[in-house]
């Protein structure tokens, strides 16, 4: 009887407690990846290879002065970032990390995420408006128009997935992929792949990520809707943004990429090599590599020892995952998080690759390309799925 509430409660505490530092590290990864794409090194000073940079950033944001513009609409100004972050975090509640690790299995889970996303937009719009300043207002305007437009396309992509799954419950969607023995992105003889692409493009726009980051376009609008925010309120917006990109990646994974299932979930003999081999290689490989290759090159002694500790820890995690009892529980969330991490990487990759769209291009893509394509994809999948 204890298990009924224990896991959800622990999960909640873990997510609320751990996601902020994780978001910090996603930022670090983002900076590092972008730096690598631009042949730079990225943050290197705080900790070995900048590994402690997120902590420094968090400390800075906490200690910064909380500036509230005099003519702002104070009540709304206070609440807006909280609204954004609140909705982003609540969305985690219906994301299943694995069969055991989930908070709630809601009958309409997918729609709940959609609904929370649409309420979260209000945080951006109201924040931009309440600042009583030009750039934030423009950012808020752009954001409301953009999000309303792309929500439709995203919904059309989701409908395709739901047609294959026959349910809106996030857990049941994954279970159905297990019984049908296929990740839905490969379903219907490939007809689902465009549905996923439409969904993902719209999801990138929904989360205000580049190349659709017009609400905060720094080269035109200073910082868009959060220009007037500083200190920890600004950090709340950042948290919300990274929470949202985590959630949309999780939805992509759950609906299209098999959730917590390993690749080839119906091929039995692959279980051992995949469930044991991949985690071990992924953790121990970089761990050993950082001990052998990275650490010796660092001149500054604390950094060198730090790197050794990090490498050791990674190797240790890889080793722990080889214990059968641990592996049985951890393999599913491992696959889930690995896929989510892949999509987070793709979003960073987009940012490093694509130039930002102009506003009219953005609207054209939403209304004239994605929505007709989405409707076509639904029709195609409806027909192919019936065969």
């Amino acid at each position: 009887m204890i298990e009924f509430w224990l896991i959800p409660v622990v999960m909640m505490l873990v997510i609320v407690g751990l996601f902020p530092p994780i978001a910090g590290y996603i930022v670090l990864v983002e900076r590092k990846v972008l730096a690598d794409m631009q042949v730079r090194l990225g943050p290197m000073r705080v900790g070995p290879h900048g590994l402690l940079q997120p902590l420094a950033d968090a400390l800075k944001l906490l200690l910064k002065e909380d500036i509230i513009p005099r003519d702002s609409d104070k009540g709304i100004f206070y609440v807006a970032p909280i609204l954004s972050m609140f909705t982003a975090f609540v969305a985690f509640g219906v994301v299943p990390f694995s069969e055991q690790f989930r908070i709630a299995d809601v009958n309409v889970g997918l729609l709940v995420i959609s609904a929370l996303g649409s309420v979260g937009i209000l945080g951006i719009v109201l924040g931009g408006w309440s600042s009583n300043s030009h750039y934030p207002l423009l950012g808020a305007l752009r954001s409301s128009a953009q999000l309303v437009s792309y929500e439709l396309a995203m919904g059309l992509g989701l409908v395709c997935g739901v047609m294959s799954a026959g349910t809106l419950s996030m857990v049941q969607i994954v279970r159905n992929q297990q019984t049908q023995g296929v990740w839905y992105v490969f379903d219907n003889w490939g007809a689902m792949a465009p549905a996923f692409l439409i969904f993902f493009i719209a999801a990138v726009a929904e989360t205000n990520r580049s190349p659709f980051d017009l609400p905060e376009a720094e080269s035109e609008l200073v910082a868009g809707f959060h220009t007037e925010y500083s200190g920890f309120r600004w950090a709340l917006y950042m948290l919300a943004e990274y929470g949202n990109i985590f959630v949309v990646s999780a939805v992509s994974v759950t609906l299209f990429w098999g959730g917590w299932l390993r690749p080839f979930p119906s091929v039995g003999w692959l279980e051992v090599p995949l469930n044991y081999g991949v985690p071990f290689l992924l953790f121990a490989g970089p761990g050993i590599a950082s001990i052998v290759l990275l650490a010796p090159k660092l001149k500054y002694a604390p950094h060198r020892y730090g790197m050794l500790v990090v490498g050791g820890a990674l190797t240790l995690v890889g080793a722990i995952l080889l214990i059968p009892a641990v592996n049985a529980v951890a393999a599913a969330p491992f696959w889930f998080l690995l896929k989510v991490a892949f999509f987070l990487y793709v979003m960073i990759w987009f940012r490093g690759t694509f130039p930002r769209y102009r506003y009219d291009q953005l609207m054209d893509i939403g209304w004239k390309v994605l929505i007709p394509l989405g409707l076509g994809t639904i029709a195609l999948n409806a027909v192919v799925g019936m065969i």
Binding site: D73, I76, V106, N107, V108, L111, V112, S114, A115, G117, S118, V119, I121, L122, V125, L126, W129, S130, L137, A140, L141, S144, A145, L147, V148, E151, T167, L168
Partner: protein
């Protein structure tokens, strides 16, 4: 008070309070936010009735769609110009009187009414029930709604497009 009763009154308060604020606030954005609170209250009532599909649809459509467009329009117009204007509806006493009379009339009728026994939702998937009802029993209204929306789209484009 049971938990259900507590939530019922909480959501009702949200719905009614939000609605009242929506028509009394001077600032258009505050009114829109109050409306959002009211709509959330209604959504909560749907949830209490085990109609979770309706609950989520209400939030997606009204808050994520309609209210957001309200805010979009409000931000486009110059609010400062409106703030200085005298409110032209000066008939609060009349409105209050009519509301009170209608309320009393409804209360009297309500007290005399024989209401059908309340029904509980069968515990099958709410989405499935909605789908079955919508695409079988109410197939024609469901299709006719699309005609209604088409007319609305054509009409609004026609009235709003640039003058030739």
């Amino acid at each position: 008070m049971t938990l259900e009763a507590f939530f019922f009154y909480a959501f009702t308060t949200l719905a009614l309070g939000g609605a009242t604020l929506a028509i009394t606030r001077r600032s258009a954005v505050h009114a829109a936010i109050s409306l959002m609170v009211s709509l959330l209250g209604v959504a909560g009532l749907y949830l209490l009735l085990n109609a979770e599909f309706l609950f989520v649809s209400q939030i997606i459509l009204y808050i994520g769609g309609i209210l957001l467009l309200f805010l979009f329009v409000i931000m486009l117009v110059n609010l400062d110009a409106g703030r200085g204007l005298r409110q032209f509806h000066q008939r609060w006493p009349l409105g209050a009187a009519v509301t009170a009379i209608a309320g009393v009339a409804f209360a009297i009728l309500w007290s005399r009414a024989k209401l059908p026994p309340s029904q509980t939702m069968p515990d099958v998937g709410n989405v499935e029930l909605v789908a079955d009802t919508l695409l079988q029993d109410y197939l024609v209204p469901f299709e006719v709604v699309s005609l209604l929306l088409l007319v609305a789209v054509v009409g609004s484009v026609l009235l709003a497009r640039k003058r030739a």
